[in-house]
């Protein structure tokens, strides 16, 4: 029941925000913040009071809380929500970024404030639903649902080509979702033929015996939907448009959380439901990941529009995640989770910074600005922090993620990992180019700028300070995060892991912390980064 409230609070908050617009434009903002705060309190309460599965394996497995209701019993559909460490981390990320999005759009959004915050909160509700739903129909329901408010955010409050970008975003994600629906239904019917029961329950479907050929096609159906959302080359082309045209809050939510639903889907569904097929497909997926890393970085470097530049860097970072998921080693999966959180923070922050620059300069065009460090010293310093985090400097979050990913993937596919690691070099180039072009050199301020330029105020400083503290904390002491996701990842690996690891050669050496032979044998083993040992 508590988990249902985690979804309902933003839904209700959105409704209240619409109504509250009558009593002033600031009312919806405070209501949005309050809704997110209540949600945070709820999820923390659930975590604290739940069975203590976060830190130790318990009889409950990795699950902290669950909700189960019959929904459409005639079709075997239930309203089933389950929370584990994985979902918890992603939900916390979503909530924090939503709160920061509200704060950062305090000045940017002046029209139809109530509706804007309602859409923001409804997107959040859909995203939280995706992270919690473990009935495949319910998952698909939320998966499609979260697109609608995001579509309105882009189409209504976006920049110049907002309608084009919004429709493109909707078509790509909805279309790929329908392909996933067919895959879901195929799985459900095969399960029904094997067992006689019609069900969309994740746990029931997980053990469905499948012929390799069918499993491969169904896996591909799921993979397609998640690859579009992630996004990975060659189905990434919606992303630069959507991110660029969305208002700052929309870009932050898109990059920070919406993309992560793709990664989450790969982790939660693709590999555990179809372990053999995923293993067979792993080289291709890892190749796509490596290509995304380099291609995203190269395109990022070529952009003049700052938002587009940051958007393409997302493609590059998400390539690492794809590589890690399909390497499917304990190290790489932990790395993927760190990368997901770190990318959410650093890229979200970069979008916020670019939004602040645009508010002041009324342009995002790098060819028309330069040398801002003198006029905006504090903003420039903060921007530098996030750009450097994005390029993977040790001590900041992204480094931990990318390092663990490369370490974990190396033994699975040496050549592709080496290729992907070049992405770290490429990241240095685009991130430093952004800094150099925007902040250094001779000062160039476009004529339409809002003069005199004011440096960041208290509200903006708070937002960015929180984000810098988070990225630094993640870089220096990622252990709480790793601990939080360890049980969940362990359970996923043991559900699928036997096949994935044993089939990928001598598994023992690349799953440190696991039982010999790479088999978790049902008991999630806690992974500690300190016992990771040297690279194989």
């Amino acid at each position: 029941m508590m988990l249902t409230w985690v979804i309902l609070v933003p839904v209700i908050g959105g409704g209240v925000a619409v109504l509250a617009e009558r009593s002033g434009t600031d009312a919806p903002r405070w209501i949005a913040l309050a809704a997110v705060a209540i949600d945070l309190a709820l999820i923390i309460a659930i975590t604290v009071t739940g069975p203590a599965a976060l830190t130790a394996a318990s009889a409950h497995g990795p699950w902290l809380a669950e909700t189960y209701w019959r929904w459409i019993p005639q079709l075997g559909i239930s309203f089933r929500l389950d929370l584990d460490g994985l979902s918890l981390v992603l939900i916390l990320l979503a909530l924090s970024l939503t709160a920061l999005s509200v704060m950062t759009s305090w000045k940017e959004i002046a029209e139809r404030v109530g509706m804007f915050h309602a859409n923001l909160l409804w997107t959040l509700a859909g995203i939280v639903g995706v992270f919690l739903a473990l009935d495949l129909f319910l998952f698909f329901f939320f998966w499609e649902l979260m697109l609608v408010p995001m579509y309105f955010i882009i189409a209504l409050w976006g920049h110049e080509r907002r309608v084009y970008a919004a429709i493109k975003f909707f078509l790509f994600t909805q279309g790929s979702g329908l392909v996933m629906l067919v895959a879901i239904l195929a799985l459900v019917f095969i399960h029904r033929r094997a067992t006689g029961v019609l069900t969309f329950d994740y746990f029931a479907l997980r053990g469905t015996p499948l012929s390799p050929r069918l499993a491969f096609w169904m896996m591909l159906g799921f993979f397609f939907a998640f690859a579009v959302k992630l996004p990975t080359v060659p189905v990434h082309s919606w992303l630069p448009d959507a991110h660029t045209e969305a208002p700052t809050a929309g870009s932050v939510l898109l990059a920070g959380v919406l993309l992560k639903t793709g990664a989450y889907g790969l982790l939660r569904f693709v590999v555990p439901l179809f372990p053999q097929a995923a293993h067979a497909f792993a080289p291709v997926a890892m190749l796509l990941g490596a290509i995304s890393v380099l291609y995203g970085a190269a395109l990022s470097f070529a952009q003049d529009d700052m938002k587009r530049l940051v958007a393409y860097s997302s493609v590059s970072h998400m390539g690492f995640v794809l590589l890690a998921v399909f390497a499917w080693t304990s190290l790489s999966l932990h790395g993927a989770m760190v990368e997901i959180v770190a990318h959410g923070i650093s890229t979200g922050a970069l979008f916020i910074v670019v939004g602040m620059l645009q508010e002041r300069l009324h342009t995002r065009d790098l060819t028309r600005i330069g040398g801002l460090a003198a006029a905006l010293p504090r903003l420039s310093a903060l921007m530098t922090v996030f750009a450097i985090a994005s390029l993977g400097l040790p001590g900041l979050g992204n480094f931990i993620g990318e390092f663990l990913i490369l370490l974990g993937s190396f033994s699975v596919n040496r050549s592709l990992t080496i290729v992907a690691s070049l992405g770290l070099v490429a990241a240095v180039i685009y991130a430093l180019a952004l800094i150099a072009r925007a902040l250094h050199g001779p000062e160039r301020i476009p004529p339409q700028a809002h003069m005199p330029l004011t440096d960041v105020g208290a509200r903006e400083t708070t937002v960015l300070a929180v984000l810098s503290a988070a990225i630094l904390w993640l870089g220096v002491y990622p252990r709480p995060l790793l601990d939080a996701v360890a049980t969940g990842l362990g359970a996923l690996q043991s559900a699928a892991g036997v096949t994935m690891t044993s089939a990928s050669g001598s598994g023992a050496q690349r799953t440190p912390g696991s039982a010999p032979g790479g088999d978790y044998s049902g008991v999630p083993v806690r992974y500690s980064p300190h016992s990771a040992g040297p690279a194989p």
């Binding site: 929904w71 075997g76 209504l156 078509l171 329950d201």
Partner: protein, 497 residues
């Protein structure tokens, strides 16, 4: 037929009686409000009579009609849709100086009676009778504002094309009779062997093909769809809703009964033909809808595509098909009626055309947010987005299609849905853009009745979209009982823990 059959026929008798009473009342005293009231009361009483009939169902009344759960479910759907149309028409006609207005409701009652007879037919004679009652009343309804050009033109077009298709249908029926010596569906089972047709079967084969042409015309599926955009555009908005919902739902319900009764699903040729029609309808409807700037024409093409989607569910055969088709038709009826209700409410009485050009919808969100919100919900439902009934329906259709391994049809459905999104979103985008033309509000009772209907449709759309279990069990306990074929076993829900 015996006296015991009368209670089962009560819904149909009430409808017929209402039409007669209305005619007599008009003869004595002309009053728009009274006529509309009698019509609405008649429809409501007929709906109430369904519960009387339900206690005695299933029962065959003469060899012509079979009143079973299936017939009652679709009769209920038709009656509720007609009720919505009657309420919308009241506001629509009141705002216009079309004189006289009273006979409109007689035609509406008769058309509804025709549709209800169709869904209960188990014999070609009853089908043809119902179809002609429906079609002839529709000519009148479509061209009712006879002094204006677009409706008059649409009425004539429908008259000619519909008569043509009826003639083909009748010839097909004659050929079937020639071959089988009977017109009862249950006795026409031999077409099950049509896959291996010999020369002697040729007349039966031709007969079935001609029957399918006639039915295809009523459903406006490709390649019999050419009339739809023109008639949709020309007819008054409430009538367009009636044509799109009532006549199509009734004919599709009949087609499903016919196919199940004659085991036509076993005939490879027929299923191949329907697959072809479904795929073509989905692709043609959606692609042509992309080109439209006229909302009524856009909805016409989208309804062609929707008939294609229903046929995908239809093709699955068996119990699941009956359930999926029924769920889909309910969703289609609610969303389509809602959309045309909005078109009607936005139309200005002093203009010959309804509010049909896309520019009339620009910025509606900022002028009339409630209407725009409902219209958005209806369009999202047609597009199959969650929280709406359309999502559940499309899901059901895909379930049926995937369950029956209809690869081509399901692929077409997916592709069609993606294309469909594009034009639905285009309209939604227009709704939220800054307005270009100023359209002032029309106020008064028109809006109150119409708004109430629209609000009710929205509630149904969202409530069943979020919690469809009651609707599904209603369908399973009524329409779903139709098929006794062992092909698809009843669904067993998964028991948790």
């Amino acid at each position: 037929m015996s006296g015991a059959d009368l209670p089962v026929l009560l819904p149909y008798l009430v409808l017929a009686a209402a039409a007669v009473v209305l005619l007599l009342v008009i003869a004595a005293h002309r009053s728009h409000t009274a006529s509309a009231g009698i019509c609405i009361l008649g429809l409501a009483l007929a709906f109430a009579a369904l519960f009387v009939a339900a206690r005695l169902a299933p029962r065959s009344v003469t060899p012509l009609l079979r009143i079973d759960g299936y017939a009652l479910f679709y009769t209920g759907l038709v009656l509720l849709a007609a009720l919505a149309v009657a309420l919308l028409s009241y506001g629509y006609l009141r705002a216009r100086d079309t004189q006289p207005r009273e006979e409109y409701y007689v035609l509406l009652l008769l058309a509804t009676l025709g549709a209800t007879v169709i869904v209960a037919s188990q014999h070609f004679a009853a089908f043809f009778l119902g179809l002609e009652t429906l079609s002839i009343s529709l000519f009148g309804l479509i061209g009712y504002p006879r002094l204006q050009r677009p409706p008059a033109e649409a009425g004539i077009k429908y008259l000619i094309l519909s008569s043509m298709s009826s003639a083909l249908l009748l010839f097909g029926i004659a050929l079937l009779y020639n071959d089988f010596g009977t017109l009862s569906f249950a006795a026409l089972t031999r077409p099950g062997a049509l896959g291996t047709a010999t020369l002697r079967d040729l007349s039966a084969l031709t007969g079935i093909a001609l029957v399918l042409v006639g039915i295809g015309f009523k459903l406006s599926v490709v390649p019999f769809h050419l009339w739809a955009p023109d008639i949709y555009q020309g007819a008054p908005a409430p009538v367009t809703g009636f044509v799109a919902v009532v006549s199509k739902c009734a004919v599709l319900a009949l087609l499903l009964r016919y196919f199940l009764a004659t085991r036509a699903f076993d005939a490879g040729t027929l299923t191949l033909l329907i697959t072809l029609i479904a795929v073509l309808s989905i692709l043609t409807g959606n692609l042509l809808a992309l080109l439209q700037d006229n909302v009524k024409r856009l909805l016409a093409y989208s309804s062609i595509a929707h008939m294609g989607y229903v046929l995908v569910a239809f093709l699955a055969g068996g119990t699941l098909a009956v359930e999926a088709v029924s769920a889909y038709l309910v969703a289609y009826a609610v969303s389509t009626l809602g959309a045309f209700a909005i078109v009607g409410l936005l139309s200005r009485p002093d203009e010959p055309h309804d509010a049909e050009s896309l520019s009339a919808y620009r910025g509606l969100f900022w002028r009339r947010p409630a209407l725009a919100l409902v219209f958005t919900a209806m369009l999202l439902s047609l597009a199959g987005i969650p929280l709406t009934l359309g999502f559940i329906a499309k899901f059901y259709a895909v379930v049926a299609g995937v369950g029956a391994h209809l690869t081509a049809a399901v692929t077409a459905l997916i592709v069609g849905s993606i294309i469909g999104l594009f034009y639905y979103l285009r309209v939604i985008v227009a709704l939220i853009q800054t307005p270009t033309v100023a359209v002032e509000r029309t106020a008064g009772a028109t809006e109150r009745v119409g708004s109430a209907v629209v609000a009710a449709l929205l509630v149904v759309l969202v409530v069943f979209g979020v919690y469809p279990a009651p609707l599904v069990s209603l369908i399973q306990s009524t329409a779903g009982r139709l098929s006794a074929l062992p092909a698809t076993a009843a669904l067993t829900p998964y028991d948790h823990h």
